[in-house]
């Protein structure tokens, strides 16, 4: 039972990290129509930006802000420099995925060329361990969960109550129609890249905090968890991604209490493949 509760604790932290990443990914795909597989590479680039700041003697939380800014700007540049020109040419979705795989190699191994392949970790205090109802979480873990909840509430408020959020939803639903209704879709898409890029950077740093140590290829597997959460909820569905993140995060960590930890990701893979094969519109998406 203690093991189970401990794994639930880990699951909550993983789900929190995953939720930030998955919501960013799914909004990016939904609004911009780019299945950006370089998302994981940008996450780890963000983690390294925070590492550099951290190494300079500053707090990781300041590094987090820096990562957020760099990944946001980087994502906007990635779109305006690479994806948007390809899309303007009418490049097919499948070719866009190949382009994004090429960008994955460039970013991920570009980071490795600069930072080296060895694992690093942030210098930070884990804080006091808090016990609550059998769950034992460190102050840092609690901060990650709290941060994730704030981000989810923020995304919810953005999509529900702001003009920008409504314009994003309209652009995602039908870009041409949205433009004809007077929405400046070009600008909405740029803003979406900036916003989801920031979420990506944020996710990268909290991922690095959560995993303790990381290297440039650490997000390869985590990207699969993101995809699993996104497809579970339905690609493009922000609330679906939140739900998917909770399910996948808890499922991987809780299953690790019962099967060898090396196989804890298998459940995410199986979920993803099952969703792709049986219901690619996701749990919250419309049936075909």
């Amino acid at each position: 039972m203690a093991l189970f509760l401990a794994s639930v604790g880990f699951g909550l932290v993983t789900a929190s990290v995953l939720a930030i990443a998955a919501v960013g990914f799914t909004l990016q795909f939904g609004v911009t129509d780019v299945l950006n597989l370089a998302y994981g590479a940008i996450m780890i680039a963000g983690a390294y930006v925070a590492y550099v700041v951290n190494q300079a003697g500053l707090s990781v939380w300041i590094g987090l802000v820096a990562a957020l800014a760099v990944c946001s700007a980087g994502s906007v540049l990635l779109n305006s420099g690479v994806y948007a020109p390809f899309q303007r040419r009418g490049t097919s979705p499948i070719t866009m995925v190949i382009v994004s795989l090429g960008m994955t190699l460039i970013i991920e191994f570009g980071v490795e060329a600069v930072a080296g392949g060895t694992s690093v970790s942030y210098t930070m205090a884990q804080g006091r361990t808090v016990q609550a109802g059998g769950l034992a979480l460190t102050a840092v873990q609690l901060a990650v969960i709290a941060l994730s909840l704030v981000v989810m509430a923020g995304v919810h408020a953005l999509l529900r109550y702001t003009k920008l959020g409504k314009a994003m939803r309209a652009t995602a639903a039908n870009r041409t129609l949205a433009r004809n209704c007077g929405i400046r879709t070009g600008r909405i898409i740029t803003v979406t890249w900036a916003l989801t890029g920031a979420l990506c950077g944020l996710a990268g740093v909290v991922f690095a905090i959560d995993s303790g140590s990381f290297n440039p290829t650490s997000t390869d597997i985590f990207l699969v968890l993101i995809l699993a959460a996104v497809f579970l909820g339905g690609p493009g569905q922000a609330y679906g991604a939140m739900l998917g993140a909770v399910i996948i995060g808890l499922a991987t960590e809780v299953s690790a209490a019962f099967i060898p930890a090396d196989y804890k990701y298998v459940i995410a893979f199986v979920v993803l493949l099952a969703m792709l094969g049986l219901r690619p519109t996701g749990l919250l998406g419309a049936a075909q």
Partner: protein, 596 residues
Amino acid sequence: MNTFYVINLLIYAGVDAMACLGLSQQFGIAGVTNFGFIIFQAAGGYAAAILALPPKSANGGFQSYIGGWNLPFPVPWIGAAIVGGVIALPFTFLVGRRLRGDFAAVGLLVTAVLLNLLATNYVPLLNGDAGLSLIPQPLQSRYSPQSAAYQWTFALVAVVLCALVYLFVRRITESPYGRTLRAMRDNDVVADSLGKNLLSLRTGMLVLGGAIAGLSGGILVSYVTTWSPAAWGYAETVVLFAAVIIGGAGNHLGAVLGAILVPVGFEEVTRFIPTSNSLPPNLIPSLEWVAIGLLIVVFLWARPQGILPERKRVITLPQAAPAPAAVAAPQAPLTLVRPAAAAGPEIVLETAGLTRDFGGVRAVDGVSLSVRRGTLTGLIGPNGAGKSTLLAMLAGTLRPASGTIAYLGQDITGTPAFRRARLGLVRTFQLASEFKRLTVMENLLSAVPANRGDSLRGAVAGRRYWAGDEAAAIARARLVLRRFGLEDFANHYAGDLSGGQRRLVEIMRALMAEPGMLLLDEPMAGVHPNLARRIGHELTALCREGMTILMVEHELAIMDEFCDPVVVMADGAVLAQGTMAQLRGRREVVEAYLAG
């Protein structure tokens, strides 16, 4: 230069080129984006290893694996190819008709990551992370693998096998089956509507490419004598994709060239970079990956067709029969209507209560309709009336939520689109849907049903097996081209034609499928009025020959001149039916549509 260095290079080139040929067949020809390609090479490698290895107890027990059958050459290589092909079968559920191509590609990529993770962590199966080593080389008990003669022979065999694979994939690609694969690559929904079974085509390609990849893995393992998960990370697939894209997807020689430039070239060039202790240890390999990523993006931008582009398949029409002047077009014995339909029941198509919703909007609401043989029935209605949705349900592109469809008295409500096309119910599309990278002639030929060469088996059997069918199809296509006045464009790429000509290609292609009934979705949209009237005359001529046509059209002048009866739809339901003259007299029709 060291002899063994040259041998090493030859073997790697042979193995990589072979793998690239398999990928080129899948991706370049058939448009199946298999991001898990490396799985099949890995499976072939492991299969060859465990077939050739002695039982693990005899091996000192320092590695654990299943199998260990100690089988003689060439059983391990044959086994490698078979295993590579067979493990493709479970993946077919990802590449069927339903799933978007990019989602399927992601699924395959993820599977590659998953299998690598499992192979790394699960030791009893294939020795986990450490991988298998001391894999016996072919005939090593009889000859010395270290001798130059042995190594040269090995290299020669690898290169010859690669050449054989090249000839094999070329034979398939240049057959009618290969043409069908390229049509599917250019537009799978349209290929489906012309009677092509996408699932079976893609399964064929996954198995074939898997077998080629498996063989390449088997050869590689027999040479390097070790095989571990580190050798087949998902990124290795990206390297092979880079090779095929740079060499030229759709051109098998390009795949060979790409294999020599990318995997082999990168391996070799970096050997000549002076090593220096001042450099970080991972710098050069990391930069190699960056360079491969850059090559992919830059090539897709600047030269998406690759160094050696796909070549045009020109079909020279024999000029022996002097083409008479176009005015006196010969009334050749060209029957375009499927006899079974031309002399079939009076009611060709009948629907009852057809309904379809899109997310709460009822696009088609209980349509019951019957179409009589030999009529050119018009279907009009304001935008959003449900005309295209109705047509798509009739053709099987969309599934109805409820209701039934019968064609020639047979219930086809649950019949998939490609089977309906084979029964003779053939549709065209509202948006241009030519196969862009096929010539006009190839577009027409792609629709011909029952060509002996239009199956994997027929393609393998070779040209002599299907040449007769092909010649007949070409002759028929030529008559159709002449009838529509497009003979001079036979060898133009369909994607290069004008809008009106492309509509013609689409109608001609549908006719090549020997339809019993045509479903035309705005065949005259965007076409010059003169050409539109010519199409109208051809369609009425077809109906006189026994064809039945249901045509969606907005141009009322066309309806007036050619269509009888005309069906009016509004808000998903049939509002009225009759001749245009009758309809003009009906108030609700005028209000719903004619007055606009």
